[in-house]
């Protein structure tokens, strides 16, 4: 018989035991929350915080007036990654392929064995991706995932594509400005420790608000005027087709700053820029630079007289001319583009001197324009100018150049003796602030002011009364030089194949624009530079005057 008293006694004992245990738990909690708190907290911090990399959106490319030429927009890519062996049966495969608007076979091919991560579709616009995502949700498909990826857009399509270049599927620059300024455009990744849940998901965190500021918005401002570029491309295309030519290029350089304002090539290409990578023999457009060398060296003067019988024989080889020019002064040699006169002039200088001036004008070297794929042309050392090579360099044979080299060299005359570095980028901006400005860069003085002035007078006469009359622009004085270059083949020059060139600048009083026109192998009958290229120069000149006015200053 147990008494109520005993119940209470034993009960009290058990109660005290419990209170004692609670006390110990309390002490234990004190250890955890006060004594060991720091240790536990630092352990927890490592678990809670994940290093997350934020990649900024690829920078934009703008033209000189701020028009957007290249930008990135968020797109969505769909991948297939089966979790826990969950695959697609025939029925689902058919439905999914319908949703993705592809054939079941296509989808099956892309999935392959279906065990590994594979991309199904890359870079879909947001709306389309949302639509697909909601349909997948309805079907309760879990083997597909969506990732945000940027897609590059060129709002002007092919215009300036040779300058802009392009990016690969993983947003890496592969050509043009996209390639040269890859690091800048890509921007700096920022790594931030962010709180996350056990599954790696985000936890509402005040730091997230700061994220837009963490990565900077990058912009590259080009010297290109996209309006001018578009007009030049259109004109070039028209002329190439009219003349049944293979192609061509057209460069407009701002004379004072050596900024490239337009650089058109035909046929257009995103991965090769013919204006800087196409290497060709320049023909007669080289002549002003040889004349400049002779004048600077004092071996010739403007009133010097030459006689042209129609051809000249050098080391047993006959070099022809367009016609027998008869008696000419130096200016006439240039304006009539007389080969005999030029060869006689070349003979007054040692090959080393000519070579030195060629180098001075920038031939045989990169102009270091800020575009990828620039060629340096071919300028052999003077001891390798064998046979007629000794003299034909003066008429633009046995030497190969690029378009940008010619424009750059002509700009030396326009700038009265100084070589500038041509460039297509004017500013790099980060969050709207200019972080780098490409300024006018003088490379060297090549010839004296006086020499340049003398050559300029001769180039004026080319347009006023010589071979380049059709380059004339109403209302302004133009300096320039025609060129009709033979195209070298495997065995000598190819019959009937010529490059038609015009290289010049205007207004002569205060040069603003240097323009090069090259038409590759016109087959429409006309092929002389004065007939094919010169009129194009005139048209480009008028376009420039329409766009920027006739005012002397910008």
């Amino acid at each position: 018989m147990v008494s109520d008293k005993k119940i209470v006694k034993r009960g009290t004992f058990v109660l005290i035991v419990h209170f004692f245990l609670f006390g110990i738990v309390g002490a234990h909690i004190f250890t955890l929350q006060v004594l060991e708190a720091e240790m536990l907290r630092s352990y927890a911090w490592r678990e809670h915080n994940a290093l997350i990399t934020f990649s900024p959106r690829r920078g934009e490319i703008l033209d000189r007036r701020g028009k957007v030429l290249a930008f990135s927009v968020p797109n969505y890519s769909i991948y297939y990654y089966p979790v826990g062996g969950e695959g697609l049966d025939k029925d689902k495969l058919r439905k999914v392929s319908e949703i993705l608007s592809m054939t079941p076979e296509e989808l099956e091919n892309r999935i392959g064995e279906g065990k590994r991560f594979v991309w199904i579709i890359r870079k879909l616009p947001k709306e389309r991706a949302e639509e697909i995502r909601s349909k997948f949700r309805e079907m309760k498909l879990r083997c597909f995932g969506f990732v945000e990826e940027d897609r590059r857009f060129y709002p002007n399509d092919e215009v300036a594509s040779n300058i802009l270049g392009f990016t690969g599927i993983d947003d890496q620059g592969l050509a043009g400005i996209e390639y040269v300024y890859e690091d800048f455009l890509k921007g700096d990744k920022k790594e931030v420790f962010l709180r996350r849940d056990a599954g790696g998901g985000a936890i509402p965190d005040e730091k997230i608000l700061e994220l837009p500021v963490l990565v900077s918005r990058r912009e590259i401002v080009l010297t290109i005027d996209i309006n001018l570029q578009a007009l030049c491309e259109e004109l070039l295309k028209k002329k190439v087709l009219e003349n049944k030519a293979k192609g061509g290029c057209l460069v407009v350089l701002d004379s004072k700053t050596a900024e490239v304002m337009a650089m058109a090539v035909y046929p257009p290409s995103r991965d090769r820029n013919a204006a800087i990578s196409w290497v060709f023999e320049p023909g007669s457009v080289i002549k002003p630079f040889v004349v400049a060398a002779a004048l600077e060296e004092g071996v010739a003067h403007p009133n010097m007289s030459f006689f042209c019988p129609g051809s000249i024989t050098y080391m047993g080889k006959k070099i022809g001319d367009t016609k027998a020019h008869g008696s000419l002064d130096l200016s006439g040699v240039v304006s009539e583009s007389c080969n005999v006169g030029m060869i006689n002039l070349a003979l007054r200088m040692s090959p080393e001197v000519i070579y030195k001036y060629f180098l001075g004008f920038g031939f045989g070297e990169h102009t270091n324009i800020d575009l990828p794929g620039e060629e340096r042309g071919i300028l052999r050392a003077p001891d390798q100018w064998y046979g007629v090579g000794r003299v034909v360099v003066a008429i633009g044979q046995g030497i190969s150049v690029t378009g940008i080299q010619l424009v750059s060299a002509m700009n030396v005359i326009a700038n009265k003796g100084v070589l500038l570095r041509p460039h297509v980028v004017s500013e790099l901006r980060s969050d709207g602030k200019v972080v780098y400005r490409v300024s006018r860069k003088e490379i060297r003085r090549v010839i004296s002011f006086e020499t340049a002035k003398l050559v300029e007078d001769m180039l004026l006469s080319v347009v006023e009364k010589g071979t380049g009359k059709k380059a004339a622009i109403p209302g302004v004085r133009v300096a320039g030089k025609t060129g009709t270059a033979q195209v070298p083949g495997k065995e000598g020059y190819r019959k009937g194949e010529y490059l038609s060139l015009f290289l010049g600048y205007f207004p002569v009083e205060s040069p603003r624009w240097v323009i090069l026109i090259v038409i590759d192998t016109p087959m429409g009958g006309e092929y002389y530079g004065g007939e094919v290229a010169a009129p194009i120069f005139s048209e480009v000149g008028q376009i420039l005057l329409n766009l920027y006015g006739a005012g002397v200053e910008n």
Binding site: D4, Q33, I203
Partner: protein, 350 residues
């Protein structure tokens, strides 16, 4: 009446405790459980507890029936365990919770009835052993380790308090201890629990993960806590943050002071409950009251000791605080029974 005050204050601390856990649905269901629980509390408070004496065997039979029933209900399984009976979509009931109260009522009435025969092993302890460990066995194979340990523990306490000799209880404890060790050895996951208890840092991403996350929560909380709702550990680091590990969330968000406040409240409840039980006019009332008291206190201790790694962790909710309808309703019903005992005392006292 003092007891009512304390208990209701505690009940009202439950919702904020749960809201930390998850979505709004949990919160609504939790509130619903509390309301049902309070209704039960009110009913049992006004019911004469003596009536339980008569129906104790019936209650026991019902719980055995239900416990067996969970295994025959095809859709009762959740995550490989057979713990629930589906009443309606989204509403389930845990028979083991019902059983724990039934067994306390039955044991109290049994001990009262057999007061003269308690010295006899065959007449007293054997039937108790068979009934109790039969039910404990059924619950163990669900499996629900926490509730099984709780029932076994409270039963032993009641047996001893009810008059079974100290020697027999100590002997029984030794036998149970040996059986327990064998039982743990048998299942690798039980072994892991013990390893986790002994040295969780040995395997922070394996068996130690859960308990380490719980300890981290306490460490994060420190003295003052991170502030209500500001804890991080509940973001899927902690397993079952709204049920078994709610105390860790409290520790993280309310700090040492909050944790201690919870401990103190259980001590106060224990004290008040025991005072009521002590004052019961008869042996059944006393034993019933003490049984209910330790049902709450021991459950609290198993939970608190477990999440702080003071004892091996077994999944069991924290009374009055954790989410989990069956447990909440049964615990509040227990309080109703206590209040019924208290009411009788008042009537008698007057």
């Amino acid at each position: 009446m003092l007891a009512i005050g304390i208990l209701e204050v505690l009940s009202s601390t439950a919702p904020p405790g749960c809201r930390e856990g998850g979505g709004f649905i949990f919160f609504k269901k939790h509130i619903l459980s509390i309301l049902i629980g309070l209704l039960m509390l009110f009913i049992f408070r006004n019911l004469d507890y003596d009536r339980l004496f008569g129906i104790s065997k019936l209650l026991l039979l019902i719980s055995i029936f239900l416990l067996v029933g969970v295994f025959f209900q095809g859709n009762g399984a959740k995550g490989g365990a057979y713990r629930w009976i589906r009443l309606a979509p989204g509403i389930t009931f845990q028979p083991s919770e019902f059983a724990k109260l039934a067994i306390v009522i039955y044991t109290a009435s049994f001990l009262t009835r057999k007061q003269a025969l308690l010295y006899s092993f065959k007449e007293a302890l054997l039937p108790l052993l068979i009934v109790t460990f039969g039910i404990v066995g059924l619950i163990l194979i669900q499996p629900d380790m926490g509730t099984a340990v709780l029932i076994a523990g409270v039963s032993l306490i009641l047996w001893w308090v009810g008059g079974i000799s100290t020697l027999k209880i100590v002997g029984l404890l030794l036998v149970l201890g040996v059986l327990g060790v064998i039982f743990i050895w048998m299942e690798p996951y039980r072994m892991d629990r013990v390893l986790a208890f002994l040295n969780p840092w040995e395997s922070p991403h394996g068996y130690g993960y859960q308990i380490i996350q719980s300890l981290l929560a306490f460490g994060m909380g420190g003295l003052w806590g991170m502030g209500l709702g500001k804890g991080l550990q509940k973001f899927y680091y902690l397993p079952a943050p709204h049920t078994d590990f709610i105390f860790a969330v409290i520790g993280e968000e309310l700090g040492f002071l909050g944790s201690v406040a919870i401990l103190v409240m259980y001590v106060l409840i224990g004290w008040a409950s025991f005072s009521i039980a002590k004052g019961a006019p008869d042996a059944f009332g006393k034993l019933l009251g003490i049984g209910v008291t330790f049902l709450i206190l021991l459950q609290a201790f198993i939970n608190l000791g477990g999440v702080t790694n003071f004892i091996p962790c077994t999944g069991i909710p924290l009374p009055f605080v954790s989410y989990g309808g069956s447990n909440m309703i049964i615990n509040l019903t227990s309080v109703g029974i206590l209040l019924s005992i208290a009411r009788r005392k008042e009537i008698n006292g007057n």
